[in-house]
Chain length 202, copies 4
DNA sequence: CATGAATGAGATTTCATTCAT
DNA sequence: TATGAATGAAATCTCATTCAT
């Protein structure tokens, strides 16, 4: 007996639900957003949503997972075509320098993502997941730095790992400032980028 | 005729409730922690808690307010005795370099504080409150930098405001990393401090 | 694809809840009767009740509204077939003369209705609602009296409006007496009807 | 050991509390008004109030009792000096014809009184109390009517009892209309008085 | 598979009453 | 006697989840 609906159809539906959920979570926060909010936003029935996800928690997880997977794919692809270490670091900084601060959806997602990050503090299982993701990103940069050191682009004395952590610390810090109206986002980030790269090169 | 109870007694009680609340919020998050949790932790009855605070929201606000007021007092006092701009910047960095990462209560509070920050995104009124607080801290450093520039300690070409924002961006970024076990907190922060001060001095 | 449930089913359910609520309110009064009382009496769960009504206040309002709508429909229909003004006045009096004083449900409703009337004193919005309803009933009779005056049935010198108010004053007065055991309801009302009609005819 | 505070002092205090309670009940209704409302309005402490009354219910009862006792005293005194039956009936009607409709306190009390009347429906004990009070008033008028019949002032064929009940039915009816703005109170009551006395005289 | 009515545990908040001072 | 802080039972309302259709 073949499945009555195609896999593609189901994937599409799941993606729609996840999309709506992200928007609802962004708007109200995970706790405050209700399944009914997702029902209204997505147009699917409550029953349908529970056919695709077993709980609100699972939806949350998949929302975050999806977004993360996206980022990873984009960055991985880009890195595979960038030839120099410096261009990779530049690319990552520019990713954040090119952000449209007025994009409400992006802002919403940023808030949700950091809320989730903090929430993970309280659940071992989630924290592991989050840490794994983070490790990937740490690895990404420390490898790039090491490449740069090997190729002579970067100063051999800096700690690749420390500077990788440092990079993401900067990014988390700058992302958080979206909550403050009037924060000179681009000025600050440009200054940081410059100092960071200067340090790498020596 | 008023047997009543001293103002001090009431202040003390309020502080006790706030303390318990902070711990409960740190443990479970604002939404997930319940008044009953605070009841259990504080040992006071539900009625008593509502005699001192009119709602869970108010407790939350006072928890944050209390902690913030503390910080402001400590820093303001210290600044008034520090003579050079550099010593002020150094002092602030050292505040964070001397943190005990194993202090669970501190960690809990950090999480609560950033959750609150993100939560403010969704309530105009709260955001104003938060922004006011942030402006105080921004002002604190930009003034110090300007002092340093006037006294010849610091490079006159750097934007005091941008570098003040930059400072708190670093601090927010580094604070957020507490969620990740194994994050080389001191290494990263020391590196940042060094680079930051180098930039100031030129 | 909508398995849903017929509109009729939902209307029926609403009516059931309203019915139970009326009985609970009649038994204990609006403030004293609880949602749990309605849960027990109706057999529906709390959640179900809140699926059909958004608050206890709304239930109260709908209970009153339903009862009132009924009365209006019955009287309006009857009036449309009664040819003389006198027969209309007679009909209304007889409505109250034919009441079964032992009908506990009716008695309960009377009490609830007058409690609601008094309660309205304290809420502008509700008072407007109540006044609108009352105006309809006032109009009903003053029109009938004017008809009677035009047709020569009634004395042209009496104030239609005053006598319409007077009619409902009598009815409210007599309804209130249900609280007193042993009140000679029929005797008093018959006497009043006689005097009233005598006055109309002159 | 003599009482440390005079009886008079205590009576005075009780009266003050009752006064405040009446005003609070009138403003918000018995259920909705809180002991704290009475505390604020009276200026006495919660403890003090509970020293004089054992419960909120008891306050309610005494509020009503006090008001009623007042009415009875006033009417009894007046009746003892009025010589004709007609003058007594006239006096009672005029009591209500001379009311100041704009007196908010009176209006509030009227509402509270009728709420209490309806509330009594649900408690046998209270109903007995209320009925006893009502019987006094019924007796008052039926005796007056009988006097009038004996003296030749009134028609001997009317039922004294029925007409006594009828009188209070009118009064209850007219009192209830205070809720409706624009009700032609004086017109309606004057009309009723005239018809009533006409009937008595024949 | 889709639906949405039904459920009920659990959350916040109120308030009459008590009692130590 | 006077006080008002403390109490906790009880009320309203929410919402994730289930399941018959």
């Amino acid at each position: 007996m073949p499945p009555s609906v195609s896999e593609k159809y189901k994937e599409e539906k799941k993606r729609n639900i996840i999309n709506s959920a992200l928007i609802c979570f962004a708007e109200k926060g995970f706790e405050t957003a209700t399944i009914d909010d997702i029902v209204v936003h997505s147009g699917f029935s409550k029953g349908t949503i529970y056919n695709y996800f077993s709980s609100k928690d699972e939806i949350y997880l998949e929302v975050l997972h999806t977004a993360t997977k996206n980022d990873i794919d984009v960055i991985t692809n880009k890195f595979s075509v960038l030839r120099t270490a410096l261009s990779k670091i530049n690319y990552l900084f520019d990713l954040y320098l090119n952000i449209d601060l007025n994009n409400q959806k992006r802002l919403g997602f940023t808030v949700v993502f950091y809320e989730f990050t903090l929430h993970c503090t309280r659940e071992k299982k989630l924290l592991e997941l989050l840490t794994k993701r983070r490790n990937f990103f740490i690895h990404l940069i420390s490898e790039a730095i090491k490449e740069g050191q090997a190729s002579g682009e970067f100063n051999k004395n800096i700690q690749a790992d420390t500077y990788s952590h440092l990079f993401w610390t900067i990014i988390d810090g700058i992302n958080l400032q979206v909550v403050y109206k009037g924060f000179p986002y681009y000025d600050v980030l440009r200054e940081m980028k410059e100092a960071y790269i200067e340090k790498l090169k020596n």
